[in-house]
């Protein structure tokens, strides 16, 4: 098991009245649903237009990753808090082949989109927190958080 980034999952759960939204991802249409739900959450929390767009972009890339590398998976969305600052947490989970090397996945040029700064490395630059857990043969979970600016 490889862990990247800092996990603050427990504390967020404790804050917890927020409900989770699960969006199964298997097709382009599902990506639209995940984006829509994410945008709605961000708008509700008062995110700026710019940050809302960046969040939708991150969701698109995460969902695209699921569709292209694992075939299917899910995206879980919920609100979260960092002291007084609200934010949106996105968990992208799949049961795909897993990423053999996370270092490699996060390096530019792993895929054609990577060389343009898209894909997972791109997502990392759009959000405030980024963690990835991947086990070879067991699938990949990417968790990101974006705080209200």
């Amino acid at each position: 098991m490889i862990l990247v980034g800092n996990a603050v999952v427990e504390r967020n759960l404790a804050a917890g009245v927020e409900s989770e939204i699960h969006v199964p991802i298997a097709s382009d249409q599902d990506v639209v649903v995940a984006r829509h739900k994410g945008r709605a959450l961000a708008t509700e929390l008062g995110f700026s237009g710019r940050d809302t767009t960046l969040l939708a972009t991150a969701i698109s890339e995460l969902a695209r990753n699921i569709v292209s590398y694992a075939g299917r998976g899910e995206i879980v969305l919920r609100t979260t808090h960092n002291s007084d600052r609200p934010g949106v947490m996105v968990v992208a989970r799949d049961k795909g082949p897993g990423i053999a090397s996370i270092e490699q996945a996060l390096r530019e040029g792993y895929s054609t989109s990577g060389s343009l700064g898209l894909g997972l490395p791109g997502v990392r630059r759009l959000v405030d927190e980024f963690e990835i857990v991947s086990e070879f043969g067991e699938g990949t979970t990417v968790t990101v958080r974006k705080w209200k600016g």
Binding site: T53, T57, S60, L116, G117, L118
Partner: protein
């Protein structure tokens, strides 16, 4: 990438997706915007091209709109659509920024490493050789004249080794640059290049003291690169290097009387010359400087480098010690 898509395909995709959004396409249409942006980015379509697509689609759509309210609503919805579309460019831009920062750091690290190696070769290998000379002299005292002659042969070879090491160290990074500064280092470099080539190089320098180490290194490397270019490609006979400064800036010009070249806004030619120019620009932008290249076929080449004085002098903000 991989998918060949033309600019006009993208333009009509953009316009269709925008119409879809304005007709109530919702999130699906916004995702369409994002995908168009992604395709455009992968297909090397510039941001300004996208802005132009948006502009012409919007003009057409607004021309068909009725009344102030509809125009206002469509205009604002179209803005959101455009934002979604350029979002992949934002992601990419952040990636390039990180890459530039990483490359600058790498460049600095390499320069430090080169400096360390150059100084080690110069100082430590040099000292070791002195010890070997002394040992040989001692041994020679106990030997027959015939053997002494052979020892002298070895001694001569060692002198050659020492010369090569000195030259290697100097080419990596002249200690004179660190010890005495840019002007003596450039004069020394000019002498050496002159001797190795048929170029006559004139160095004129009027600098007020030492520049910051990073600026001295950058200017030295640029002059080195320019002299290389002049020697290899210019077919000229003379090079004039001038270093001076006025109230606000430090200037360096390198001019030759060679064949010149058709200056290109983006030096894309492969090979060392193009890379050299890119390298020069990158080194300069790291220290806040600019490069102007003037060249015409048959009229030589002139490089003019300007670095704002607040970036080149440690003492520009306070009294000199």
């Amino acid at each position: 990438m991989g998918i060949a898509i033309t600019t006009s395909d993208l333009e009509s995709l953009y316009s269709q997706a925008l119409e879809h959004y304005l007709a109530g396409g919702g999130e699906e249409a916004l995702r369409g915007a994002y995908e168009v942006g992604r395709l455009a980015l992968a297909g090397d379509v510039g941001l300004l091209d996208l802005a132009a697509f948006h502009h012409s689609a919007l003009i057409r759509i607004l021309a068909d709109s009725q009344g102030q309210d509809e125009i206002r609503a469509r205009f604002s919805a179209a803005s959101q659509f455009f934002t979604e579309c350029v979002s992949p460019y934002e992601m990419s831009l952040r990636g390039y920024r990180d890459a530039v920062a990483a490359l600058r750091l790498l460049n600095e690290t390499l320069e430090k490493e080169v400096k360390r190696i150059a100084h080690t070769v110069h100082d430590e290998a040099g000292q070791l050789l002195v010890v070997v000379y002394l040992a040989l002299t001692e041994i020679a005292k106990d030997l027959t004249p015939a053997m002494q002659t052979r020892i002298k042969g070895v001694n001569d070879l060692l002198h050659q080794v020492e010369g090569h090491l000195r030259q290697l160290s100097h080419e990596l990074r002249p200690t004179i640059l660190d010890d005495l500064g840019l002007v003596p280092a450039v004069q020394f470099l000019a002498d050496r290049v002159s001797k190795r080539s048929n170029l006559v190089i004139e160095v004129k320098a009027e600098l007020d003291g030492r520049l910051l180490p990073g600026v001295e290194t950058a200017l030295y490397r640029i002059i080195q690169e320019a002299l290389n270019n002049a020697r290899r490609h210019s077919q000229g006979k003379n090079v004039w290097i001038q270093l001076d400064e006025d109230a606000g800036k430090t200037m360096c010009s390198i001019r030759d009387d060679g064949i010149g070249f058709q200056a290109q806004p983006y030096p894309s030619e492969t090979g060392e010359k193009g890379l050299g120019l890119i390298g020069i620009r990158e080194r300069l932008s790291a220290i806040g400087g600019t490069l102007q290249i003037t060249s015409e076929p048959g009229r030589g080449t002139k490089l003019l480098i300007v670095v704002p004085k607040e970036n080149s002098h440690a003492n520009s903000h306070r009294a000199r010690r």
